[in-house]
Amino acid sequence: MTEQETINRLNAQFPFARAVSPRRMRVFTDFMPPRQFEAVLRFARDELGYGKGEHIVGTDEGEDLGFSYIVSNGETLLVIREKVPKADPRVRSQYALYPSLLMHERELVDLFGADMRELPPGPSYPLPDGWPKGEYPLRKEWNPAYFNKNTMRYEPPEGGGEAKT
């Protein structure tokens, strides 16, 4: 299935997805709430043949967290995205649909603080044992300069300090 056919089918079924193709063999959807995202992801796998889970890109979107699931039909890369507020980052694991994305979902938990429901039990990834709870290094406000490797504590100055970026 070409990128144009993918766009046509996705946008006809889910107009809110607003799928576009920025370049050849790539299709990006807009960010969606989790429930809509799950419907689009299932449709892409079951109806459009995007059965290969490639990886997930987590992004800090200010007040929100963005999770871009990248799946493939062996040729085109399709990016389907969900967005949740940082204050309540509840999402559902898509492990049942894409077993190969398990490690990437664990990464969203460790590095972005996603509250990933239905994630199978297992070791965390990639942060080490003893990493302080509630510290998510890939959020923009998290500054590595304030992390004490000896005590494994995040110690920003009073007032919160500066974000790194």
Binding site: G51, V57, M103, P123, L127, L138
Partner: protein, 408 residues
Amino acid sequence: MSERDGKFVLPIGPQHPSLKEPCSFKITLDGEVVEKAVVEIGYNHRGLEKACESRTFVQDLYIIERVCGICSHAHTSAFCRCVEEMCGLLVPRRAEYIRGIVGELERLHSHLLWLGVAAHEIGFDTLFMYTWRDRERVLDMLAAIGGNRINYGVNTFGGVRRDLEPELIAEIGRVMDALEEKLKYYFELALVEPALIGRLSGIGILRPEDVRRFSAVGPVARAAGIMDDTRIIEPYGVFREIAVNGVTDDHCDVYGRTIVRVKEMLESVRLIRVMLRELPDGPISVKAPRRVPAGEILIRVEAPRGEDIHYVRSTGGDMPDRVRVRAPTEANWHGMSYMLEGFHLADVPIIIAAIDPCYSCTDRAVRLTDAGGSSLHAWEELRRLGIERYQSLGIDPSGIRLREFPRG
């Protein structure tokens, strides 16, 4: 070793003689047979993606090159393509050819390294020594091109930093002639040597449906008959002009992965010869802007271990907003437990080695320690030591000019 419900749970790693880099496996055994395997990775996580967010794109290029020591050129190729496409840069043809030559030399040294490690894991140390001897010739060529055996520093935004002189082109051709002879011998060996076939066949099985389920990539997928070579599916750079003859096999086991890699090396030799013969004249780079236009991009290239995907997002400044790297090994870990289960404990090291795992472990500063204490070396001192080392081996990289980047 612990016993649970009459079954032994054997921890292997994170530090273990059969592992070349740190990783942890908890193997539940029923006698000698692996009943369950739990893989724990992450021991080498260095926070490179976070580091990239607070440095300029140019500085990030050096970080990205150090994601992996073996396939450093593949990573910089993907990252450079991200930036070049976002900036609308047209890379000169000569630069694309040089990128292609270095990329295929990298595939040769990676696969030769793997073949040696695999032979060592099954106790075939003669083959290990043969392949690593041959790999040295490839590393010498890479050192002659870029000044380093690994982390060659060839790629830059808009092209390459090193050109190929006629003498070096001729020398690479001679090395390819010698290497092709050896590779044909290894291929013949793989077809007839009973010990090799006996130890590699029928273990670590991953059939086409398993490859799809676990999204395996590279030689692991191709050994199950699935052609996923990015150079063929989505040709980039020089591969838009020079077609790659894809290699697949249908053994679906460790033996099949060996056959695929040996055949791919022969194909790399052919590709290098064609690229050397048809290397166009012209510039090797175009000027790249410091600021990258706002936007995002997803680029993939074919690293020696498989599909390497880079995501870059820019807000229009000179630093990226987000960089995400999905190295091929990250894709191949998912099927590892499945590949181990049901096979004998003695086969565990070679099954793990068969995906050619890369744990990424290259540092940026070097601390040399001897009986008199330790010392940190500055860049110039390190460069001088490196040049002296290669001169003692008969290679003189001192003539390589370092490209100067304008300040401000």
